[in-house]
Amino acid sequence: MKDGPNLTRTPPAKGGFRLGRRASRAIWLATLLVPPALLFLTFVVYPMISALVYSLYEWRGISRLGFYGLENFRTLLFDQPWQAWTINAFWHNVVVFVTLMVVQNAVALVLALILGSNPRGSRFYQVVFFLPVTLALVLVGFQWKLFLNPMFGVVNKLLDALSQGIERLVGLQVDLSQPWLGQESTALVALILVNAWRWLGFPTIVFLAGIRSIPHEYFEAARLDGANEWQVARHVTWPLLAPAVTIIVILTFIGSFNWFDLPYVMAGLDGPPGKSTDVLGLYFYRTAFGEVSGGLQNFGQGSALAVLMFLFILVVSVVWTRALRSREVELQ
């Protein structure tokens, strides 16, 4: 009996059949796994496959015409003016990523190192830095759009006061106030800085958690051996922070290349002025769903663009994650 099948343990259900433990476990697992799997298939896999299929057809507006091969991709990459638009938008995504790495993540790392040494009020600053992350993005966008308004905005008011101060002190005539969002030279940078302002708290907290998880003895040992603060940071904290760096780099990369919401709210669908704030997300939206001033919307080209973006982000993320992971091992 002892070695026999495990049937007697569960009393048989009334008039029903009895299930083995293995089977009931399988059913249990299935009830847990099937709904999310179905959701994933319906809302992730199916749209991805249909986007791929759409991208291979010719479209007139929303009507699908014949099979088109790779023509949509060719148009986007090699025909004018699409090629210029694609390169312009892609380049801006690159600028966004690089700038965010420098002004957002590097600053976050410095802040985390400072907060990690538990100065007075570190809890308070932790909350302050994280606060903008919790604000709704549309709110942040509109608020900064007002701040940057050349007529009423607080930014230019401060810069005007600063310019006057400089003039009075040094006698140098300067005008620091600018129509930030209206100039091709400043619009993208202004948007990136607003993005950094909003997200700064997130990498800070991730880095800080990484620093706090490093056993305290390591720091003590290093200091006993006579290491100064820079050496501790360089040779103890930095290598052990590698997993957090990996996460932040990859998330920033994906976020930068999917950037849509903030430029949409603050600048607009067509990346004004003169496409200087255009990024792939906005370009995709305009192409697939149309814009009031545009020509026909084109699902095929839009889907092709989405496929290109997806492949680029996927390949780079996978390759880069691997590289960063092996770097983590090397550093440790």
């Binding site: 507006g61 929303i62 009507s63 025909d79 004018q80 003016p81 940057l148 308004n149 050349p150 007529m151 009423f152 230019n156 106030s177 600018q178 129509p179 930030w180 969002l181 209206g182 100039q183 091709e184 607009g268 067509d270 004004p272 002025p273 003169g274 496409k275 769903f289 149309g290 814009e291 009031v292 001033s293 545009g294 020509g295 026909l296 919307q297 084109n298």
Partner: protein, 412 residues
């Protein structure tokens, strides 16, 4: 037993018949639109129609303006859109024309509509009209009558008068022209307000016939003239967006605003105490007519997949009547293209009068059908031109080059 089941059967038949009868009596139609701000007025108009057409129940459904085109096109292709749909004109309309019923043989009143209005809802491939034109827009200059009378100014009629008027306003501490260049589509409007008086009434036809392109001196000369307005626009105009410009004018900080006839209602909403009037863009020389840009805003169409086409068509025929046009004008401050409609509002009446000397709003009417649209090409270059980074000649040749990718007359 037998009697009972007969009774039952009779009851059932009565029930079914009454349901069918109810269904017949109450044909339910849905009417989709982007005019979220006009819901009450449309419901009132519809209630009047329903009173005269018992058995038809029309529900007006308004969707958010900026996503309406996307929602509508997706719903039409899935066969789920309303029976009657409010559609835009020109290129935006052609995107969805496959899913609409041709109306020219169904709505006799269309025969009396102005040709230019019908062209906005005409599909170029078959020449048929798919929607009843509902309102037109005209591009004008608004001016603050209080500021003008304070400074003793009269509405300028020529370009030189316009510039000297603007200078006087500036000297007295007001912003002469509220406009900025930060909102892309407003740049095209800006050109539409001032451009026609320099490129002239024949230019549109010359372009469409391929006898001229946008490198033509008439067009680049008009662009060049816009640059003379820079000193009179809001300071740091590069960063002034549409909403800011509207507010500067509505709150009396700026004396003039170049924009579309749709702003009449906006300014009244923003500041009910604002005293303002409108005028056409100034003529190049004294004695020339003052031309305004004109375009059709949209129309009412019937979904080809509607199960109640006859009822929907009947309603759309009503939307083409003078009775409806008058209601639309009186209640919604729209300028109806329906013949015989007279506006009692003095500003709307003025717009209707200006429409007598109008020319098509060039890029919207002619070049929003294909990509790259003439509008996008213009809009993305004008901020650079205002900033002095590219010349009007460069704008003209790049726009021509872009349009030439699909417009045969430009290709030789």
């Amino acid at each position: 037993m037998m009697a009972k089941s007969t009774t039952k059967r009779l009851l059932l038949i009565t029930l079914v018949l009454s349901l069918v009868g109810f269904g017949l009596a109450q044909t339910k139609l849905t009417f989709w639109s982007w005019r979220t701000e006009d819901v009450d007025e449309y419901n009132e108009i519809i209630a009047g129609y329903e009173a005269e057409h018992p058995g038809v129940d029309i529900e007006f459904q308004a969707y958010e303006t900026s996503t309406y085109q996307t929602v509508l096109s997706a719903a039409l292709s899935a066969g789920e859109a309303g029976d009657i749909v409010h559609v835009r004109a020109y290129g935006n309309f052609e995107t969805i024309a496959d899913f609409l019923l041709p109306l020219d043989d169904q709505v006799p009143a269309l025969a009396d509509f102005p040709r230019l209005a019908l062209d906005g809802e005409r599909r170029r491939s078959d020449g048929r009209v798919y929607a009843v034109p509902f309102a037109s827009q005209t591009l004008v200059v608004y001016y603050n009558t209080d500021i003008f009378s304070e400074l003793g100014l009269a509405p300028p009629e020529t370009w030189d008068e316009f510039l000297s008027t603007a200078q006087t306003i500036k000297d007295n501490g007001y912003i002469p022209l509220a406009n900025g260049t930060a909102t892309t589509w407003m740049n095209e409007v800006f050109m539409g307000v001032f451009g026609p008086n320099f490129y002239g009434a024949e230019f549109f036809d010359d372009i469409m016939a391929g006898e001229a392109d946008f490198t033509d001196a008439r067009f680049t000369g008009a662009l060049e003239k816009l640059l003379e307005l820079r000193p009179y626009m809001t300071p740091d105009f590069e960063g002034i967006d549409y909403a800011t410009a509207q507010n500067l004018f509505a709150n009396g900080l700026a004396a003039m605003f170049a924009g579309g006839s749709w702003e009449i209602a906006n300014f009244r909403d923003l500041n009910p105490d604002l005293n303002f009037d409108l005028m056409p863009g100034p003529a190049a020389e004294a004695g020339q007519p003052q031309l305004v840009s004109w375009f059709l805003d949209g129309g009412y169409a019937v979904n080809a997949a509607s199960p109640n086409q006859e009822e929907a068509l009947e309603f759309v025929r009503f939307l083409a009547t003078q009775e409806f046009g008058q209601q639309l004008t009186d209640m919604l401050q729209n300028i109806s293209p329906i013949p015989g409609v007279v506006s009692t509002d003095p500003l709307l009446a003025k717009v209707a009068e200006l429409n007598q000397t109008s020319t098509p709003y060039i890029m919207l009417v002619g070049f929003r059908y294909e990509t790259p649209s003439g509008s996008v090409m213009m809009q993305e270059r004008l901020p650079g031109m205002f900033a002095g980074e590219i010349t009007p000649e460069q704008v003209g040749s790049e726009v021509t080059e872009g349009i030439a990718t699909y417009f045969a007359p430009f290709q030789n």
